[in-house]
């Protein structure tokens, strides 16, 4: 409902009056109902909310994977609704990184090839020093020539993180990146995301339903019923859990990690 626009901080990505409607008539569902939010550059933002709150839809629309019914989504100054499929694809390739919940890697490519995939698709050489540093950061130097099937789930997600940052994107979107991992491997991936943001001033937007995961972010935005209901800077797991309980009589149902 209320959005705080921080002056002086540039938004890496934002949505303005975002509305997303699925279906028509009786079956109409308003997944996003007039959301305006900015994701400031150099920050790690988590999107939280109960199931069906529209958090995934918000991320997909902000990242150009889905289109809004009305309103606009912007990466930097680029309005995504003005782009055709090809330009949108090029934008995703050059300015956005992705980490999905599972199945992040191409099984036929090695770890190294997976990391440089977006750069290779663009036919560019990329920033080799940066990629080298990334490989060390994610700690997979000895696995570079392995196939994804030879890695553990946590290792696979770390490769995905490295790929997401490899092309120096404006913003990295992570969709439940720890959803399929045990808590130790999950922690490692989250620390990796946080460390990369802080050390190298990258921007990450992460959708999660796990308060512990959200606590790694600089700020949490809360969504409910397709609307932005709150923002919480410098979150902790307890405060996030408490905030979530306020949405739902039985918060455990949504707040407990599966």
């Amino acid at each position: 409902m209320t959005t705080t626009i921080r002056t002086g901080v540039v938004a890496a990505a934002r949505v303005v009056d975002a509305v997303k409607v699925y279906g028509t008539g009786d079956t109409e569902v308003r997944a996003l109902d007039g959301v305006s939010v900015d994701f400031p550059a150099g920050r790690f933002t988590a999107i939280m909310g109960p199931s069906g709150s529209g958090k995934s839809t918000l991320m997909h629309c902000a990242a150009g994977l889905d289109t809004l019914t009305s309103g606009s989504a912007l990466i930097g100054d680029t309005n995504l609704s003005a782009l055709d499929d090809r330009r949108l694809t090029l934008l995703r390739r050059q300015r956005i990184g992705f980490v999905f919940q599972a199945f992040n890697l191409i099984p036929t490519l090695t770890v190294a090839e997976n990391i440089t995939l977006p750069i290779d698709l663009a036919g560019e050489r990329g920033d080799r020093e940066w990629i080298d540093a990334l490989i060390d950061t994610v700690g997979l130097r000895d696995r570079l020539h392995h196939r994804p099937s030879e890695l553990s789930g946590g290792q696979q997600q770390r490769v995905a993180v490295a790929r997401a940052f490899a092309g120096n994107p404006d913003v990295v979107f992570a969709d439940e990146p720890t959803g399929n991992l045990d808590s130790r491997a999950g922690q490692e991936v989250l620390r990796l995301l946080g460390r990369t943001v802080r050390r190298t001033s990258r921007t990450v937007v992460m959708v999660t339903h796990d308060p512990v995961a959200a606590a790694h972010a600089d700020e949490v935005v809360f969504l409910a019923d397709g609307r932005l209901v709150d923002r919480m800077p410098d979150p902790t797991a307890e405060r996030v859990l408490d905030r979530l309980k306020a949405f739902d009589p039985s918060p455990g149902a949504t707040a407990v990690t599966p």
Partner: protein, 856 residues
């Protein structure tokens, strides 16, 4: 009972849910069955049509009187029969029960069309004869105009008139082989059709026929007899037999018609339908591989579903059963559709043939039980057979597999497979070595070829890994990561890649086999002319089939009198039984022959064979136990026997034939006289161009036969070989099409499997066009693998075929690999791969990114 019903219910719901997956299988079976059913129906219809036609044509003839002296040369249809005397007609007419009798003179006569070119002559016979005035005895019926009454007037069959652009009142030339000016006064039909197949017919007055078509007047090929009312055909024959001289017989009209029919059915229709059946076999074999692959993939993709069924209590048999029921359902449906398609094809051809000048007999399509049941059974069996192994696999699914990720079988070749493959290959090589080198013959070679095919199929998965790596190597550099992805996708499941490519491999192998064999035939002809023909130009009559009328025997002496020419020798054809076996004889001037042909080493001399000497080729002499100085007894078509002395044995028979006899010796026994080839050598200092021009000028007066230089003569056989190859290519196009459907189908299934991966690629920045490129290149790689394997196998088997043929015959056979044609085959295979990938690529590119990522 209920278990079986559950299986059926599962199959039906699965079929309904996966219609798209089975579309390829369905189409492959449909096309194969259509081809087979179409062939059978067309064969039956043609046969019935010809039967009706002959029955109609010969309906008025109750008995045929002919000589019993006949010489049959193996490989030639009817044999050569001694003529009968026309004076017999009187005797026959006076026999009780006879209503009418007429001599029937049959010879060769080639008509020249309005455009100055000969009509027909490439295969079907060009018949000339006397126009029989009694309409009931004449198999040809006058349709327009009138019968010939004066010398030079002729009736021709309507089909020939149409093809040659001739109409009533036109004057043209008939080569008998001496050119005769004739005027068309009437058009005729045969048994209700415009002609007897593609054969041309010219009916002349009896006097003309005796003058031009028989060696001496008063002779006829046979005498046609009609019975009076109340006399049966058999009674007529019984009445005639006592009054006929020795060496003459009477047969019923029905028996005569049956002989003619069986000649057409045997020589032409059987060859035609056998050829088509062989090709439908190839098509179905290709389809089998395609279908097997589809079932294997579908079963692999359903592992989880099947495991869940097993976990829920379905028995192994029920899971196996449901897959087999599915296969049967697809087989029955597709075969039924294929039957309809086949009947459609036959009906279409029936309508199309007359349009291209081939009179397809009228009448309803003949659809026998066999032509329905056989394709149906084959279609269902192909489907069931293809599904059997995958079904057994499905039955073996462990219930626990439900909990695992769907695993695509990415194992390459197992040790057993490699060992089996290598053993098969060794066995193939062994059989081929025996067939080609040790005891040259066709059977071990054929067995070797089949073993080689099996070895290629078994070794496919092992080979695919290496082949795709090598073939796809340039892709990384060419297309970057998109190319690398395409290559690795093709490498992903070697078994699947190999199975997909195998169908195409078989198709391409057969294409290359024929291509190589055709080129080798041409090379052989070149080589033959090179080493055996020492002359400068050749005048040749069509060499293909029974057509044409040959060359005038007066032409060779006329050419020989030209100032430019040193030797001109004509080669005529005769037949005789040599020590009891029918053989073709070359009738010529042996001394001149030896000057113009290089006969290789000759023992004895060709210069003085005389009226009672013959020359024999070395191979024939060895086989028949003849040598210089030995004697051979020849029985001619007139029943006369004469003992000849072998005066020469020569080495090279490819142009001269196996027996050479002088004109002098042949003259008493000859029929219509003609040469099949005239070989000419020029005097020193005469250029080929000048000499050829002079010969052509002389030949113009003899119906302008082709005058060819050595090179042209060697190439003259290329035309018919190319025609044969074109037909083979057209027939094999269907097999290649099915193979491509298989590739497209496999790709579609693979894309379905990789939905999430494709979504991910799109999300991280692969454009639609990059994705399409990736899928298409995968398709191209699979096709390239199949094509490469096919070229290798086809080329090798082509070599085997050439070597085995050489071993089986006694003439040398050259082996040739035609680079341009094989390159075209390779390009067509690869381009077709790109086409096969088109639709799957488009479908893949249209995937919604989000939904693809979320896909299960």
């Amino acid at each position: 009972m209920t278990g079986a019903r559950a299986s059926v219910r599962l199959s039906v719901s699965s079929l309904r849910a996966h219609k798209r997956r089975f579309a390829g299988t369905f189409t492959a079976v449909l096309l194969g069955v259509s081809f087979l059913a179409g062939t059978l129906v067309m064969g039956d219809t043609l046969r019935a049509g010809f039967d009706t036609m002959f029955a109609n044509a010969a309906g008025g003839t109750d008995a045929v009187v002919r000589s019993t002296n006949v010489v049959t040369v193996s490989g030639e249809g009817q044999g050569t029969r001694q003529p009968v005397s026309t004076t017999l007609v009187k005797t026959i007419e006076q026999t009780p029960g006879v209503a009418a009798a007429a001599p029937d003179i049959q010879g060769a006569g080639q008509l020249i069309g309005a455009d100055g070119k000969p009509i027909g002559g490439q295969g079907p016979p060009t018949v000339a004869g006397n126009w029989i005035q009694d309409p009931k005895l004449n198999p040809y019926k006058l349709a327009e105009g009138r019968a010939p009454s004066r010398s030079g007037e002729v009736v021709i069959n309507r089909g020939t008139a149409d093809r040659g652009g001739l109409k009533i009142g036109d004057t043209t030339v008939l080569r008998t082989p001496d050119p005769v000016r004739v005027t068309v006064v009437g058009l005729a039909t045969f048994g209700g059709e415009d002609g007897m197949g593609q054969a041309t017919y010219t009916g002349m007055t009896q006097a003309d026929a005796e003058k031009y078509l028989t060696p001496k007047p008063g002779e006829a090929s046979s005498i046609q007899v009609r019975a009076g009312p109340g006399t049966s055909q058999q009674e007529l024959v019984d009445a005639l037999t006592p009054v006929l001289p020795a060496d003459t017989e009477a047969i019923t009209g029905q028996a005569s018609a049956a002989e003619n029919q069986s000649m057409i059915s045997g020589a032409f229709l059987s060859l035609f339908t056998t050829l088509l059946l062989v090709f439908s076999g190839i098509v179905l074999l290709v389809a089998t591989f395609s279908i097997h692959n589809t079932f294997a993939i579908v079963v692999a993709q359903r592992t989880r579903e099947n495991a869940l069924l097993r976990a829920l209590g379905a028995s192994r048999r029920q899971v196996l059963g449901s897959t087999l029921v599915e296969a049967t359902a697809v087989g029955v449906l597709a075969s039924a559709a294929g039957l309809a398609g086949g009947i459609g094809i036959a009906a279409g051809l029936q309508a199309l043939f007359p349009a291209v000048g081939f009179p397809f007999p009228d009448g309803a399509l003949v659809i026998s039980g066999i032509s329905l049941l056989l394709p149906l059974a084959v279609g269902v069996l192909v489907c069931l057979g293809s599904a059997l192994l995958p079904a057994v696999h499905a039955g073996r699914t462990a219930p626990l597999a439900a909990l695992r990720e769907t695993a695509v079988d990415d194992s390459a070749a197992s040790r057993t497979r490699a060992v089996t493959g290598v053993l098969l290959l060794l066995a193939a090589l062994g059989a081929i070595l025996i067939g080609v080198l040790a005891h040259p013959s066709v059977w071990p070679s054929a067995a070797g070829a089949i073993l080689a095919l099996a070895a290629f199929v078994v070794l496919g998965p092992a080979a695919s890994t290496y082949a795709v790596r090598i073939l796809g190597a340039p892709l990384d550099r060419l297309r970057g990561v998109t190319g690398a992805l395409a290559r690795r996708n093709a490498l992903r499941s070697p078994k699947r890649t190999a199975a997909t490519a195998t169908a195409l491999m078989i198709g391409v192998a057969v294409v290359s086999l024929f291509t190589v064999f055709g080129a080798s035939l041409k090379a052989t002809m070149n080589q033959t002319v090179d080493r055996s023909f020492a002359g400068d130009v050749a005048i040749s009559a069509p060499v293909f089939g029974a057509g044409g009328s040959g060359l005038s025997p007066a032409l060779a002496p006329a050419v020989g009198r030209l100032p430019e020419v040193s030797t001109a020798v004509g080669l005529g054809k005769g037949v005789a039984e040599v020590n009891g076996a029918g053989r073709a004889l070359t009738v010529t001037d042996p001394a001149a022959l030896a000057r113009v042909f290089d006969l290789g080493p000759v023992s004895g001399s060709m210069n003085a064979l005389g009226p009672n000497g013959i020359a024999v080729s070395g191979a024939e002499a060895a086989e028949r136990g003849l040598h210089t100085g030995s004697t051979a007894r020849l029985t001619f078509t007139d029943g006369k026997q004469q003992t000849f002395t072998v005066r020469a044995v020569y080495d090279r028979s490819e142009l001269a034939g196996t027996y050479v006899i002088t004109r002098q010796a042949w003259a008493p026994h000859r029929a219509q006289d003609s040469d099949r080839l005239i070989a000419v050598s020029f005097k020193d200092g005469v250029s080929t161009a000048d000499g050829k021009a002079a010969v052509e000028k002389t030949a113009a007066a003899y119906g302008s036969p082709d005058v060819q230089t050595r090179g042209e003569y060697a190439r003259s056989s290329a035309g018919s070989i190319d025609m044969m190859l074109t037909l083979v290519y057209a027939l094999l196009a269907l097999a290649v099409l099915i193979a491509l459907l298989g590739i497209a189908n496999t790709l579609t299934l693979a894309i379905h499997e990789r939905t999430r991966e494709l979504g991910l690629l799109r999300a991280v920045g692969q454009t639609r066009s990059q994705l399409r490129t990736m899928v298409r290149w995968e398709s191209v790689l699979v096709a390239a693998f199949g094509t490469a394997g096919g070229l290798l196998l086809g080329g090798f088997l082509g070599w085997v075929l050439v070597k085995a043929s050489e071993g089986a015959g006694d003439t040398p056979f050259a082996f040739a690999l035609p680079p341009t044609r094989l390159l075209v085959v390779a390009l067509v295979g690869i381009t077709a791969g790109a086409l096969a990938g088109w639709r799957p690529a488009r479908r893949a590119a249209r995937l919604d990114v989000l939904r693809a990522i979320a896909a299960d």
